[in-house]
Amino acid sequence: MWWKILLLVGMSLIIILTFTWSPPQAKLGDVSRIFYFHVPVAWVSVLAFLVAMLNSVWYLRTKNLQFDTNSGIASKLGLLFTFLATVTGSIFAKAAWGSYWNWDPRETSLFILLLIYGAYLALRSAVPEETKRAALSSVYSILAFVTVPFLVFVVPRVFKSLHPTDSIVDKNLKIQMSGQVSALFFPSLLAFTVIFFWMYYLHQKVEKLSAKKEV
């Protein structure tokens, strides 16, 4: 219980401080404040993909349907967070670059992630039998995961990026943030991650209850 209160207070503080205490970035100005929400949301959408894939591997190893349910839940949440990341990214793109959509590499990668989640959920809805659905969707989720490294190579070659990179990591991949920014960014990252796992847990509970009701 205590961590829920902590999350509420923390999240509220983060939202308030983002607009009052955090310094605007030198080049982008106030627009850069979306960074505290956009980056954690994007991080969660990738994390959900990883969680779904691990659950899929575990399902194939143990044949325990619980893991398949988890994988489905993680994908549903992943779709939600990817959508949020796309929308917040688009708002930023309009303010900073002048148009909502530019086929920037990051936008393209998120878009492909959206396609993968969509395809995965379409596959799940196309197979009514539980064990069959579990096996087929697990295999697909692993297949999708192994193609991601190729996308990382391919996408930036096709589209040139305007995405701000200097704000988080510099060219030597060292974290580059002023103390004030990181004091706000990392708690926000943590808060969004906790929210994701909380939602994940709640969905599991709902699935269990509805399974009990059917019996």
Binding site: L60, I112, L115, I116, G118, A119, A122, L123, A126, V127, P128, T131, K132, A135, L136, S138, V139, Y140, I142, L143, A144, V146, T147, F150, L151, F153, V154, V155, R157, V158
Partner: protein, 227 residues
């Protein structure tokens, strides 16, 4: 597990032979691949009319036609087993890895034969200039290798699902984006008169994608096949 490599290879080839034999009887998969490509090519040709297309557009068209032709025909290799209810017999015939490799080889051969027919048509109708023939052919062969490596296992997944038609393309497209991008870039280089060494990056990507896909498919195919 098979005892020796030669026995194993002969069983894979036997399955490939069986697929080709049944295909020659009905020509269902090949006809749908071929007709799809010809229809698309004609439609594009008509809409372009007298205008000359750029190298970029021609390369993209070439791969789009290959992609959608695969979507029209390549899932057939598993769907026909499910429809004829012969998949149970095939399960008795050998371990999953042999089935996968046989079906994959058959899909690859199908795409290669298709290319033998549509490349001349592309040259005739759309004036595709094969200025670097070696690079063009290598990209085509390796691209179809990657296409068939990924679509074979997705075809197996789709054949077990209830809605088969649109699902195949929906599932395949996100996974095939790297292949399409590398294929289009490689074909652009080849038809734009680049040297062979300039296409190394694309060829490497196609080869590594195929290797990764084949390895993962060999591990995962058993789970799909046993459903």
């Amino acid at each position: 597990m098979p005892t020796s490599l030669s026995l194993w290879a002969s069983r894979v080839l036997a399955l490939l032979g069986k697929e080709i034999k049944t295909e020659l009887r009905t020509r269902y998969a090949f006809n749908s691949l071929l007709m799809f490509s010809v229809v698309t090519l004609t439609a594009v040709s008509f809409s372009v009319g007298q205008f000359a297309l750029s190298v970029q557009v021609k390369a993209a068209l070439y791969w789009l036609i290959l992609f959608f032709a695969s979507m029209a025909g390549l899932a057939q290799v598993f769907i026909k087993e499910e429809e004829a209810k012969t998949s149970y017999l095939l399960k008795l015939a050998g371990p999953a890895s042999i089935i996968y490799l046989g079906k994959f080889l058959y899909n690859w051969v199908l795409l290669l034969v298709l290319q033998v027919i549509i490349i001349p048509l592309f040259v005739i109708f759309l004036d595709l200039e094969l200025s670097n023939l070696a690079l063009f052919l290598t990209v085509s062969v390796l691209g179809s290798l990657a296409l068939s490596a990924a679509t074979t296992i997705i075809g197996a997944i789709v054949s077990k699902a209830n809605v088969k038609g649109a699902l195949f393309a929906v599932l395949s497209f996100p996974l095939l984006i790297p292949v399409l991008v590398a294929g289009i870039e490689g074909t652009q280089l080849a038809t734009g008169g680049a040297r062979f060494s300039e296409g190394w990056g694309q060829l490497r990507l196609l080869v590594s994608f195929s290797v990764v896909m084949l390895t993962v498919s060999l591990i995962l195919f058993e789970f799909v096949w046993s459903e």
